[in-house]
């Protein structure tokens, strides 16, 4: 398995990508280098380790879902699954990019580098926990906030064009009084809108490791900062390659595009008392599809047999989370509020 690591030319410690400066940084001697410098400089350029093929490591296998190989720094065993593209050694935290995984059809077109630091992610998570009166006490006990990880998530970025026709039943109502009667006249209209809408860069995650509900919740990303992919940005983070094909996300992309078409068209149906959609026929023509790695800070916590996910947009800082509810606390708080409202009611009842 071909792997890559970046070394500081000054002290030979590893270099990681720093979200704040946008540079490769050595945490040991605090030197930093631009990504371009790292690419061009032979001393800093990633050291390629090509273990495997007929080597002594019998465990090193890429068949099945898992692989393992020995850390180039400490010799410890690094285990990854079939989609791992960047990871760190669990023993020496040496960041490793598995370049073999990022080649051929799995080489991403684009990447949006991390802009949010781990410190910011941890405090966002603490803020999410804070003030949650229904959160079970034990859920936060292990101080797991520190385990939040920076992950480059594989996305399909899809362009498409929608064209179609949407019909509506609409009414206008006139009410006037004449003599002894109130007269209501309801006019019925058949409204039709036909047109096209073009979409650019609809993102849909290409991984089975994250639920769509979480990746969609932290949208949107700012594509103006999306740049051609380069291995350097992955150093110090985890990264996965896609395990969902682009064809398989198009259904959801079309679903969202259709909803937008309907909304855009409906905005032009104005001057009616009621408008209800009666029929729609929208075709989606797919355009370019790009493969990009987008940054996400995340933490999965298992609690009573269920996984609760915290996810944060690694570029914009938008946070989504689901947290468990303590049933006892739920009823205790309900009782507390009931007590307060009942006391208010007892006073109010005097005056009515």
């Amino acid at each position: 398995m071909e792997t890559l690591e970046y070394r500081c030319p000054n002290c030979n410690a590893y270099l990681v990508f720093d979200p704040k400066s946008g540079k490769m940084k050595c945490d040991y001697c605090l030197s930093d280098f631009t990504v371009d410098e790292v690419k061009e400089n032979n001393d800093t350029r990633g050291k390629v380790h090509n273990e495997g093929h007929g080597h002594t490591h019998s465990e090193e296998q890429t068949n099945g879902d898992y692989f393992c190989y020995s850390c180039p720094s400490c010799g410890g065993e690094i285990i990854g699954d079939s989609t791992t593209a960047a990871t760190e050694c669990p023993f020496c935290e040496n960041p490793t990019v598995i370049t073999q995984r990022l080649s051929g059809e799995f080489k991403p077109d684009y990447v949006i580098p991390f802009k949010i630091t781990k410190k910011e992610a941890v405090s966002a998570l603490e803020k999410l926990y804070g003030g949650k009166k229904l959160l079970p006490n034990a859920f936060t006990r292990d101080n797991r906030v520190k385990k939040v990880t920076g992950m480059y998530v594989p996305y399909w970025i899809c362009d498409c064009e929608a064209s179609g026709t949407v019909s509506y039943d609409a009414t206008r109502v006139h009410t006037f009084s004449s003599g002894k009667y109130i007269t209501t006249r309801t006019d019925f209209f058949k409204v039709v809108r036909r047109g096209t809408v073009a979409f650019d860069n609809i993102p849909q995650d290409g991984t089975t490791k994250l639920e769509g509900i979480h990746t969609e919740s932290i949208e949107p990303y700012d594509y103006s900062e999306m740049i051609p992919f380069s291995n350097e940005y992955l150093s110090g983070y985890f990264a996965d390659i896609y395990d969902v094909n682009s064809e398989d996300v198009l259904g959801r992309v079309a679903e969202r595009a259709k909803a937008s078409v309907k909304e855009s068209f409906k905005e032009t149906v104005i001057g009616y008392a009621t408008v209800s959609e009666s029929e729609s026929n929208i075709d989606i023509t797919k355009g370019d599809i790009h493969y990009a790695l987008l940054p996400v800070w995340m933490l999965n916590t298992n609690w009573n047999g269920k996984t609760y996910t915290f996810a944060m947009n690694g570029q914009t800082g938008k946070v989504v989370g689901d947290l468990p509810v303590d049933k006892k606390k739920f009823w205790k708080r309900t009782a507390m509020f009931f007590g307060i409202f009942a006391a208010v009611a007892a006073v109010v009842a005097f005056f009515i």
Binding site: G195, F199, T268, M336, A349
Partner: protein
């Protein structure tokens, strides 16, 4: 000549007896002729005294006609007769032996429904024997007694309070449940995107054809309601009624 003198004296008597009654409010109305003029006067005097003391009108309405709703009839009669805000009207009809006592203002408390029951209990036997004067001459003092005593605490206020709490406590519980459920909802902020509006290329929405075609029309006519029939408007009453 004798006839003329007789007529004039009758007219004078009527004038003298009737005038003061009309000058003040008429509190005893006997269209069924169940009382003698003398009895009417005595009862009026009694009711007048009560009014002087407490500002409360006690009205007695005796009729011999059919009304569909004794309660409506009694309440409307009181509301339209220009009586005080606080008062009671006792309606008796010998046509189908209906009775109804309707109370207004403070009398809804001082002459609570349970007290009206007690009052009727006292005069029931007289009414059954058609001894209307006896019944009514005890009716007025009975009312006066309760008016003087003031509202009973066990009857309305506390009863009303408990009733209010019976409604408010479940409301308080539901509101508490809603508040905590909203807190629970905040525990999961994950939602699927509803659309792709963020990714519409600016200005790319191109409506090539729009049709707004008139199909048909329906017309409905509703008579304008004339407001409620009773002149009293939204005035509220308490009361009790039945047959005697």
């Amino acid at each position: 000549m004798k006839k003329t003198v007789c007529l004039i004296s009758v007219l004078l008597i009527i004038a003298f007896t009737a005038l003061p009654v009309y000058a003040a409010k008429e509190r005893v109305i006997d269209t069924a002729d169940l009382l003698t003029a003398e009895e009417e006067q005595k009862l009026s005097a009694l009711a007048g005294e009560v009014y002087e003391k407490y500002g409360v009108d006690i009205v007695i309405l005796l009729e011999d006609t059919y009304v569909s709703s004794p309660q409506r009839h009694a309440e409307d009669y009181y509301d339209n007769g220009g009586y005080a805000d606080d008062g009671i009207i006792f309606y008796l009809s010998v046509y189908d032996r209906d009775w109804y006592m309707a109370t207004s203002g403070s009398c809804m408390d001082t002459l609570s429904d349970s007290r009206l029951d007690d009052i009727f209990e006292e005069i029931k036997s007289d009414l059954a024997k058609n001894e209307f004067y006896d019944a009514l001459s005890s009716f007025i003092p009975l009312c006066e007694g309760y008016i003087e005593a003031g509202p009973s605490f066990s009857a309305t206020p506390v009863g009303g309070y408990i009733l209010n709490m019976c409604i408010l406590l479940p409301v308080a519980f539901v509101v508490a449940l809603v508040v905590v459920s909203l807190e629970k909802k905040k525990m999961n902020t994950a939602v699927l995107q509803k659309n792709a509006n963020d990714y519409i290329i600016n200005g790319s929405v191109d409506i090539k054809e729009q049709k707004d075609v008139f199909v048909t029309s329906t017309v409905t006519r509703v008579p304008i309601s004339q407001g409620s029939g009773s002149g009293g408007g939204g005035r509220s009453h308490g009361g009790r009624g039945g047959k005697f």
